[in-house]
Subunit: 375 residues, 2 copies
């Protein structure tokens, strides 16, 4: 099958032999280049200057055109400028004596979005005239430790991809860590901010943890319910606001509006997250304040519960706690009632019971004490 | 972290314990159900009756509405009808004494597509008014034998997904085998037919093997070149038409138009493929007819080369053999010249040299004797 090689010159063949002997290394280098390239696609070089609307006004109507223009800019100079180069070498060092931030403060995002969307009419709507939703999920940059892990990641990506195509959502899958401080469950925060400011045309970002899947491919989110709200998250009012339980809501799956409020929420949320002493200490505080929270470092879910209960009341005001259907459900309970749910669906009872079982979630963090099913 | 369980009733807790003891089994059952569900999404119950346009006329304007209507139909009857049930149990048995077919003969597909697209105006165009392209790829239903395999499948899916989003393509990833005869490199044939007849709005299907990736995310296919052609495949005229080499073209990556010609090509192509004696004998014939083909069972690439050279001249007439850029390239040669290519791109020489290095291919079958790079 390699016969085609025989017409090469001897020099070429010799070089090919050398190449073959270290092809594994070269393969790794190539993959690294490709990963860096695709990471670079997401980043936006306007991000450092996000306050100024002047630059935004120059952005062409066509996003693709913009990307090509950026690529050309890089090509024109003979080597990448120091800012671009530094992105691949080292990020700005965070001083742990100051609160951690996700980037320069942005304070006029709503106005900037209005300007951008006026300059790019129609870009913020789907073909059916609905506000654009970007489904976002991701997994770690390296292989999964569980030998079956990446096979399930692959199947789960297919699940999201099929759902997104059927419902006219755009879908972004992330495999990069954007900040060395924001690891583990905190990795989504810098990603969400980056996607918001790179995609002013997107109205909602729908986050989904890597271990969650859609169980009902025909399920449509009732977006009209969420007008005036900026965050939609599954939870229970009594567990959250009365009992102060750390599992009163679940951050495995949520929708967040692309707006100033959300950027502010991310800014308030992020300081709990930096890996190391900060996260450990924040974890102690959260365990002390929230009911039945085990002792462990700060997680994004507990931090959001804390913000809802003890921080600025504006967070609670603009958040919709969804409990009328399973925006997510812990898989053990869904499997346990699976046959019953199937029957309910067949006899159409589920409609009156408001249980379309939209999503299915694998994480142990999603153990609920009580759900509408066990009432 | 599982503290939330404590408020359950003792009976529930007991049942949970039983459940826990066999959770692995239940997990498998659930996954099986989900796989069957998502497989069912792809299938189209009109497929057995594809000749009749009557049914098509009833198809609503909204594809999503159609799917929901189908789901309702299934729900109304208390158990699935025998046709639906048989899909999951056994497929129609093929009699090896007759030529293998992909399904009932379809002879008026072009007219059917015109009718469908007239009934559903605008559905066959992208937002930018271009004919719709569906990018299609896939991998085997089970885990990859190589422990790193599924991690690379995952990264490669991300690569396609990013490319598809940036270029306004729809993307379908397949993990099902549609016919037990058409395994290995032949699995794409029944899939392509199924997608064509299920998606009359799609003009082109862009097939990509699981081991290929896009190396240039800004690369745009020059579709205007292919007007009047129904198949675009990478290859070289001299290797193919003069030398009759089995590597004269490459079927790892190709574009095929959704039309009657393509369904006919699939019909002519498929009989080489059924696993077992048929495929082995076809392999012997192909090795005898094609130059430098090693002895092995029939592969889809050799069979297509055979059709181009020795079958109906209409196949060659409507095929564009692309050689002006790398619609695909064998990875060893691309890695070998990688630094040079990068320099070429930086200095913009590549434009005049017509080498955007569109795609990168991993399969050993893609070893080319000569490429524009080695001229």
């Amino acid at each position: 099958m390699m016969k085609g090689l025989s017409v090469m010159t001897p020099t070429t063949r010799k070089m090919m032999q050398v190449l073959n002997s270290c092809k594994a290394t070269l393969f790794c280098v190539l993959v690294t280049i490709l990963v860096l390239r695709s990471t670079a696609m997401v980043s936006d070089h306007h991000i450092g200057d996000i306050e100024g609307t002047t630059e935004w006004a120059h952005v062409g109507q066509n996003r693709h055109g913009r990307k090509l223009a950026q690529a050309d800019e890089v090509n024109i100079s003979e080597k990448p400028d120091p800012v671009t180069a530094s992105k691949f070498v080292e990020e700005e060092k965070w001083d742990p004596s100051t609160p951690y931030t996700l980037g320069p403060k942005i304070s006029n995002w709503d106005q900037q979005r209005v300007i951008w969307n006026n300059l790019n009419p129609g870009k913020n709507k789907t073909r059916n005239g609905k506000p654009k939703i970007l489904l976002v999920s991701g997994s770690q940059p390296g292989p999964c430790a569980n030998p079956m892990g990446d096979f399930y990641h692959l199947k789960f990506v297919k699940n999201r991809l099929d759902y997104a195509r059927l419902h006219g959502l755009e879908f972004f899958y992330n495999m990069a860590t954007f900040s060395k401080e924001m690891t583990s469950f905190w990795a989504k925060l810098p990603l969400l901010r980056k996607l918001m400011v790179s995609h002013p045309e997107v109205e909602w970002i729908w986050w989904m943890d890597s271990d969650a899947i859609f169980t009902d491919m025909a399920f449509e989110m009732p977006m009209e319910k969420y007008e005036g709200k900026n965050l939609v998250v599954h939870g229970f009012h009594n567990l959250l606001f009365e009992q102060h339980r750390w599992i009163g809501l679940n951050t495995g799956i949520f929708l967040i509006r692309n707006c100033q409020w959300s950027l502010d929420l991310l800014d308030a949320w992020a300081p709990f997250g930096p890996e190391g002493e900060t996260r450990v200490n924040a974890g102690k505080m959260l365990t002390a304040k929230l009911v039945e929270r085990p002792t462990f470092e700060a997680d994004d879910q507990s931090a959001l519960v804390y913000l809802m209960l003890f921080d600025d009341p504006k967070w609670k005001l603009k958040t919709h706690i969804e409990w009328e259907f399973y925006l997510h459900g812990y898989w053990k309970y869904l499997v346990y009632r699976w046959s019953e749910l199937s029957i309910l669906q067949t006899t159409k009872c589920w409609k009156s019971m408001a249980m379309p079982t939209g999503l299915w979630h694998h994480s142990r963090r999603n153990a609920f004490a009580r759900t509408p099913l066990t009432h």
